[in-house]
Symmetry: C2
Subunit: 214 residues, 2 copies
């Protein structure tokens, strides 16, 4: 498959409302299709990388490791997803790990290059600012949801989101169940039990990592 820099960049939430003309200005400051084999670490604390990444092919998990060595999965990146937008705007300390779950190709933009571009392209800033507003709302809504939903509701909400995203009621989980559990803020045991319960109630059908919403 051929790689289209414009298509790759414009898939990122913060850029996807941008006119093509703007995206084209981002192409020269971005790297393209770096390869990371399955299981390798794409980003980690102290690697000196300072910007955002786009997942062009493959998938990856974002996680942090807390004081007692426990891993918390903060998010998953699938083909077309992006992470680290914030790093374009502020000098943040990268505290999370990103690990390739499959053979993965990533593109990236470094903060310094981006900031220089912004200064000579005022329209870009204006467009981006409005995108950001929307993002803030999504994050806030998500946070409220998490606080007001129990384990089962969160699972169902996740499955519905995924079904909508994949455009089918046959869902292909890209995450190991233990990673999914961590992402949903529950234990693998609870996830296993709730899925079984949902199946018993004829709301889903499970076969391995494939789930059918009924």
């Amino acid at each position: 498959m051929t790689h289209s820099p414009v298509a790759c960049i414009s898939k990122a939430t913060i850029f996807n409302n941008l006119p093509v003309k703007m995206i084209e200005k981002l192409v020269p400051i971005s790297t393209h299709q770096e390869y990371f084999p399955k299981g390798s670490i794409i980003r980690q604390p102290g690697d000196g990388k300072d910007g955002m990444i786009f997942l062009d092919q493959g998938s990856a998990k974002i996680y942090s490791i807390n004081e007692d060595g426990k891993e918390t999965v903060l998010g998953i990146l699938n083909k077309g997803d992006a992470d680290g937008q914030q790093n374009l705007f502020r000098d943040n300390i990268q505290e999370n790990f990103i690990e390739a779950l499959q053979d993965t190709y990533v593109c990236s933009i470094e903060r310094q290059d981006f900031q220089k571009l912004l200064k000579r392209t005022p329209d870009l800033a204006l467009n981006l600012l409005n995108s950001f507003g929307e993002q803030l709302v999504i994050i806030e809504t998500n946070s409220i949801r998490r606080n007001s939903m129990n384990a089962q509701e969160r699972i169902v909400a996740y499955l519905k989101d995924l079904s909508k995203k994949q455009g089918s009621n046959v869902i292909e989980l890209k995450l190991k169940k233990k990673d999914l559990a961590s992402y949903l803020g529950i234990t693998p045991e609870t996830l296993s039990r709730k899925l079984k319960k949902l199946q018993k109630e004829n709301r889903i059908k499970i076969s391995g990592r494939r789930i059918i919403l009924l």
Copy 2:
């Protein structure tokens, strides 16, 4: 006390890194010191208000009401706080209520006025964009915290934050305990018990809505 428009606006997180020259451009498009008596509703769904507000004097609570009529407190606004930044950038449906907890004065900026200003002030967009990056990080961190803390830890974290903010280990709760509980995502009963427990462990001292951190 006299009212300083510049001081009022610059207290909002998204504007507080802005040079005074930029803030001054915001003054003409903002309303100032609207009065709301204690208990009155400052903003509510369907009121046609479409922008952000600054709390100049007094305090207020932000809450939503879900399907079964239950109230969830999403945040508190104290003197100097602001809310609704997102509304400046996107046409959002206002879904929350904001209610004055004391006699309150608010200033505000409407979306349309702000957008017009942005278009003729590119530097403002650039400055704001970088502020936003930082905000996103704070919100994300908070969300992680909430997911990994139990009731008592969240209470202690809240009290410590407040102590830091008020610059004293004698904390004046501006919220009713039931509202505080809702804000922390717990029940009033749990809050009551945990506070009692913390007092027993000599970590705090409670007298009404005044708490001393030890």
